[in-house]
């Protein structure tokens, strides 16, 4: 016994193995470095913009009063987009996973995924040239009948309003939310569904009793991922609104609109120089922190339920 123990040597470490392990580990660590680099470089370039005096930047304002309306616009646009998209996404996911015939369901899934493949500049074009003009009569109607709600004040004549931008955003975040919800709905234990049906539940009662309780945290994280997308989406909002300075207003269908951080950067970056660029980068840092927190929370929620994995 002892002799065999003594003669067994550790397996030789081959140079090929060492190189390969080093390469893989290095690549993994590089990703962490890149993520840290995003934060560090934005901070390094952004701090002069935060500290800039009003007469040194194009906006003529201190950083906080300048960035606040943009944060307001970003949050309000993303929230409304989410409010529009979540019910539709749950409905579409439920339709694909449980209502459509199984074979057709997969094809329908591909169709919805196609929406995710459309580049954001195409959404922007569609928003300006198709959606905005078609929304004008609807906004006039909203103003005529619902003007006691502060959201529906004096309507814009072009239809290029924050609400139009929100609808475009809602369409853009729909596919990812649908994909995640669909994935979780399909993972509902078959026995739970069949037990509900065997007790005489209708299909909707089955969904309420078996699918939704199981999928709740997944739906929440899908919504938060959608929120992250909506917060960071740039071009569609920039093209639809095309305002250089946003303002804080409750009117969602007016001609003067709140702008979002991302859209503001895209619209102003070309003409800015010196400290104004730093201020834009600092606003980008604010956006990065907001989306990072939202995504972090969403992922932490998914991690906590380790049974659910697969959708990303």
């Amino acid at each position: 016994m002892s002799t065999t123990q003594a003669t067994r040597k550790a397996p030789p470490v081959r140079p090929g193995d060492r190189v390969f392990a080093g390469l893989s580990t290095g690549a993994g660590i590089l990703i962490l470095v890149i993520l840290a680099g995003v934060g560090i470089f934005l901070t390094a370039k952004g701090i002069p913009g935060i500290l800039a005096k009003p007469d040194e930047v194009k906006s003529g304002q201190h950083f906080l009063p300048w960035v606040w309306p943009l944060v307001y616009g970003t949050l309000i646009a993303a929230t409304i987009a989410l409010l529009i998209a979540v019910p539709v996404a749950i409905g579409v996911a439920l339709f694909i996973s449980h209502y459509a015939p199984r074979r057709l369901g997969q094809i329908f899934g591909y169709l919805i995924d196609l929406l995710a493949a459309v580049p954001s500049v195409v959404y922007g074009l569609w928003g300006i040239q198709f959606l905005a003009p078609h929304m004008v009569p609807f906004y006039a109607w909203l103003n005529k009948h619902l003007s006691f709600i502060p959201f529906f004040g004096e309507p814009s004549a072009t239809g290029r309003t924050i609400l139009t931008a929100c609808i475009v955003l809602a369409v853009m975040i729909l596919p990812i939310m649908t994909a995640i919800c669909r994935e979780i709905f399909l993972q509902t234990p078959r026995l739970h569904e069949e037990a509900a049906l065997a007790l005489g539940a209708t299909k909707w009662e089955m969904a309420r009793l078996a699918i939704f309780p199981y999928a709740r945290s997944g739906i929440v994280s899908a919504a938060m991922l959608g929120l992250g997308r909506a917060l960071g989406e740039t071009l569609a909002v920039a093209m639809v609104l095309s305002v250089t300075a946003g303002e804080v207003t409750a009117n969602l269908i007016g001609s003067s609109n709140p702008s979002t951080i991302a859209a503001n950067i895209a619209l102003n970056f070309k003409e800015s120089t010196g400290l104004s660029v730093n201020a834009l980068i600092a606003s980008g840092l604010v956006l990065f922190i907001i989306t990072f927190l939202v995504n972090f929370a969403a992922r932490a929620l998914v991690e906590r339920r380790s049974e659910f994995s697969g959708a990303n």
Partner: protein, 353 residues
């Protein structure tokens, strides 16, 4: 025996209660379609006829409420709502495809693909410079992202598995998928501005920005594919005395190749349409620029954006070119998606389809 067998249907009917005829919902749906199409041709407008047809569909739950009771009526109402949610989601897709194809196909010509915008005022000109820029920048981004992404996924599956570093990488890669594209552009700008000074515009900067967006997508899809490779294959290879790195290179990667190619193609399709980061760091120009490391570089999405945002005078031809560029971009992205699906369909190992 015979008597009970001859009358089971009636027994069930008594137990089941009243029901809508099975053709009921279909008949109402058909009626809704007919009314919708009819009123559209009578000149009611698309929006109003669709809404009218939808309200007709809502009569199914009401009918059911009268005959079948509340529970069944709710069920039918939800069925109607869920189905119309799907229809609602399809509307923008159809409308986008229709408008891009109808407006974009007007400008497609040989000139559109082979000329740049240099010295073009008014009609004419093309997207040659933007096409070259998109291919170069996306190509360079792929060259950077694919090795990093692939090796990271190899680390996650073959080396790290469940240790702390691997768990952190996995978590942060997931978070990284949510980085806004404009932030990636600002990062690339901040990086190159620190090296080369302010106001820098470089093609390669666009590639760096796109890599930040592309790497997490590559890592996630490759990791999923490597995980699907059965452990028996690895163990058989080890049992023959093959070192670990050769096992990964010769056994694991070839087995997962179809899935990896699919994932990478989808990742390219995702970043090739990105506009915001390229607007920040690559800028736009009217001439052909083949040098990634020098000067501004036009790309398709930025070309489409700047053609519509600053069309010049008269604006017509420029807006037409924007639609043309959007159509070309859409075709490229759809083709990449199609290729990805075909590769995974035809080349994945049997049993995984």
């Amino acid at each position: 025996m015979t008597t009970t067998l001859s009358r089971p249907v009636d027994v069930f009917d008594e137990l089941r209660g009243a029901q809508l005829p099975s053709w009921g919902p279909r008949a109402v749906f058909g009626l809704a379609v007919v009314v919708g199409v009819g009123t559209y041709f009578l000149g009611l407008g698309v929006f109003r006829s669709v809404v009218l047809a939808w309200f007709i569909c809502l009569s199914v739950p009401l009918w059911s409420l009268a005959i079948e009771g509340k529970r069944k009526a709710t069920d039918r109402l939800v069925t109607t709502l869920v189905t119309s949610a799907f229809g609602l989601a399809l509307l923008p897709l159809i409308s986008i495809l229709w408008i891009v194809i109808s407006k974009g196909s007007k400008v497609l010509s040989t000139e559109f693909f082979t000329y740049s915008m240099r010295n073009v005022v008014g009609p004419g000109g093309g997207i040659y410079h933007a096409l070259i820029g998109t291919l170069l920048i996306t190509g360079a981004a792929s060259v950077m992202s694919i090795p990093i992404g692939l090796f990271t996924s190899i680390y996650l599956v073959e080396y790290g598995q469940q240790n702390r570093l691997a768990r952190w990488i996995r978590f942060l890669v997931d978070v990284m998928t949510g980085i806004p594209s404009i932030v990636a552009g600002l990062f690339a700008y901040a990086l190159f501005a620190l090296i080369f000074g302010d106001g820098i515009r470089l093609g390669i900067g666009g590639s760096v920005a796109l890599s930040v967006l592309m790497i997490p997508v590559v890592v996630r899809s490759c990791e999923e594919m490597l995980k699907l490779v059965p452990n028996e294959l690895r163990e058989a290879s080890y049992a023959l005395g093959v070192p670990k790195w050769r096992t990964v290179a010769k056994v694991v990667l070839p087995t997962a190749l179809a899935g990896i190619v699919t994932g990478i193609t989808l990742a390219i399709a995702r970043v090739i349409g990105e506009t915001a980061p390229l607007l920040i760091i690559a800028g736009t120009t009217d001439s052909v620029n083949m040098d990634l490391f020098k000067d501004r570089m036009a790309t398709l999405p930025v070309f489409a954006y700047s053609s519509i945002s600053s069309p010049g005078f008269p604006p017509g031809p420029s807006i037409d070119r924007a639609w043309g560029a959007a159509l070309v971009l859409l075709i490229i992205v759809m083709l990449l998606n199609l290729i990805a699906r075909l590769v995974s369909y035809f080349f994945s190992p049997k049993g995984e389809r």
